[in-house]
């Protein structure tokens, strides 16, 4: 483990923009009613397709413009944050739960169980996840509950693999072997010894997955098989906006910017967490040439 002052130094390198974005996301989701200038489902045909305020025809009443039914884009985006965040969290939790459980089992027990599970992982990875998701939703019907289940089922694999990898390396440590000799029950070993060592990677992965899940959900909504109108999801806004791309570009642009910013945020924070919690892992953003001198002769 690192000394506390080293951790402190690393905290200084925190990605401020990333954290700010995520903070904004959470605030929007929690306090949407207070922040949003309008009700997201209020229709006003007289105000339909108004451009953002900096373009002629726009006004400060609707800062980012309105859609084809006169609904305020900014408000819909703010409320959309709630959908994305809630969906995201639950889906991440669900897939994380499944993935961790399976990963722990597979990694710890090894042998046949492991081979079989890995085979299943391979099979699932071979199938384009969107098609599976679409097929499942097609079969089950689009509803909030179903989307979460579908996303959860298709995303657990990432957790499973990483957790399994961690378990495999932790398993070999002496303190685990000692616990086994001391007669600790399997559950106890897993929860007290193995899991705490796995938690770090899980946190990093969960953060990164949040972004991916939000994109996944918007993709499904974009194709009409996700959240159903009039619920303001960013994906639906993009789908609507597509028809008006030629003369009302703002309908499609801003929700997409929102998605991109959120995912950017999760990526930045996730990468930083990875550096912070597990310096053994190299990230793609780390510089080359070890800054800590390798002690050779």
């Amino acid at each position: 483990m690192q000394k506390s002052h080293q951790i402190f130094k690393k905290l200084k390198g925190a990605p401020l923009w990333g954290l700010a974005i995520l903070f904004l996301l959470i605030i929007s989701a929690m306090f949407a009613e207070l922040i949003a200038p309008h009700n997201p489902i209020d229709q006003d045909i007289t105000q339909a397709l108004r451009p953002p305020f900096w373009i002629e025809g726009g006004s400060l009443k609707h800062i980012l413009g309105t859609d084809e039914l006169g609904r305020d884009i900014l408000s819909r985006i703010i409320f959309g944050a709630r959908i994305s965040l809630v969906l995201g969290f639950i889906a991440v939790a669900l897939s994380g739960f499944i993935g961790t459980g399976i990963g722990l089992t597979s990694g710890y027990f090894g042998g046949r169980v492991d081979s079989v599970i890995m085979r299943v992982v391979d099979i699932q990875l071979s199938m384009p996840y969107i098609l599976i998701a679409l097929a499942l939703i097609g079969a089950l019907g689009p509803s909030l509950r179903n989307i979460i289940i579908v996303i959860g089922i298709t995303s657990w694999v990432d957790y499973g693999r990483i957790v399994r990898g961690e378990v495999l390396s932790v398993k070999e440590n002496d303190f685990v072997k000692l616990a086994k000799i001391a007669g600790c029950s399997t559950v106890r070993i897993l929860s007290k010894h193995i899991f705490p060592n796995v938690v770090n990677s899980l946190i990093v992965l969960a953060t990164l997955m949040l972004g991916r899940v939000i994109i996944f959900e918007s993709a499904l909504s974009f194709l009409g098989l996700g959240v159903q109108p009039p619920t303001p999801s960013w994906g639906i806004m993009l789908a609507d906006g597509r028809q008006y791309l030629t003369y009302a570009w703002w309908l499609a642009t801003f929700p997409g910017v929102a998605i991109m910013l959120v995912v950017l945020g999760t990526n930045l924070v996730g990468d930083w967490l990875r550096d912070l919690l597990d310096p053994r892992q190299r990230t793609a953003l780390k510089g080359g040439g070890n800054l800590l001198w390798k002690k050779k002769s």
Partner: protein
Amino acid sequence: MEEKILEIKDLKTYFFTNAGVIRAVDGVSFSLHKGKTLGIVGESGSGKSVTALSILGLVPRPAGEIVGGEIWYRGEDLVKKSNREMRNFRGKKIFMIPQDPMTSLNPVFSIGDQIGEAIKQHQGIKGDGLKSKIIEMLKLVRIAMIEKRVNSYPHQFSGGMKQRVMISMALSCQPEILIADEPTTALDVTIQAQILKLMMEIRQKYNSSIIFITHDLGIIAKICNDVVVMYAGRIVEKADVVTLFKRHRHPYTKGLINSIPLLSRRKERLLTIKGQPPNLLDLPDGCPFEPRCDYADKKCADHYPPTELVTDHHTICCWRWREI
């Protein structure tokens, strides 16, 4: 008269890290004479390897940097050379056999390819003649059944054989100066002896000048003409090999020599040098060996000793060498 082929003056190589500045090589001066073998001995962290890397201009950047000193080779100061200019010296004039044979060869090219590359680069042979030259160079290091194995890959060879391949690569470059960085440390004792024997044969055959880095005084005694003892990035004693073993003056040298287990000392306890190697991030103002020295006094702790001459060819860096 012995010709000086390499002269290092007050070399300083530092590493700039988040935790501080590491003065890996801090004012090192020595010379290498043509046809002779110079040994550099010291513990891990004493700066031996970094000195070698500095000569070749391969100090890992951006953390590491030569911050001072001169390295004179054939009338040119290597410290001032750019990376591109150094390429003219590497391989052809100066070659280094690195420490760990297991990782020193590229795993995706056959050893024939890798030797052939060196031959092409430095002996200018191409085409058909190349294949036979490769085999010839590999035969020099006596790897068994080499014709069949020329197209094999590094992972199919043992550590000792890989080291022979590295030596063959050195020969293929035909360098004037060969630096060997602990070439036998990673190998079994029996293989060690074979590799050393090979190197000595080569030295004789090609009259090469060698810098031999090691922490093993036994090897130094066997093959070196002159010796440099390093500690915490500086030279604490420098002499020819006989003088070093028989008339050494520095307490560290004394500790090193005394710690060699000899059969004649079987009844005595194994002697070690007490204490820990120094923390290079936090070097004291005085002599870095002071905490572990049996002869240290207050002056040793406060001031770094100057380098003085015992005789023309024997220098020492210690306050109290006259009294020891």
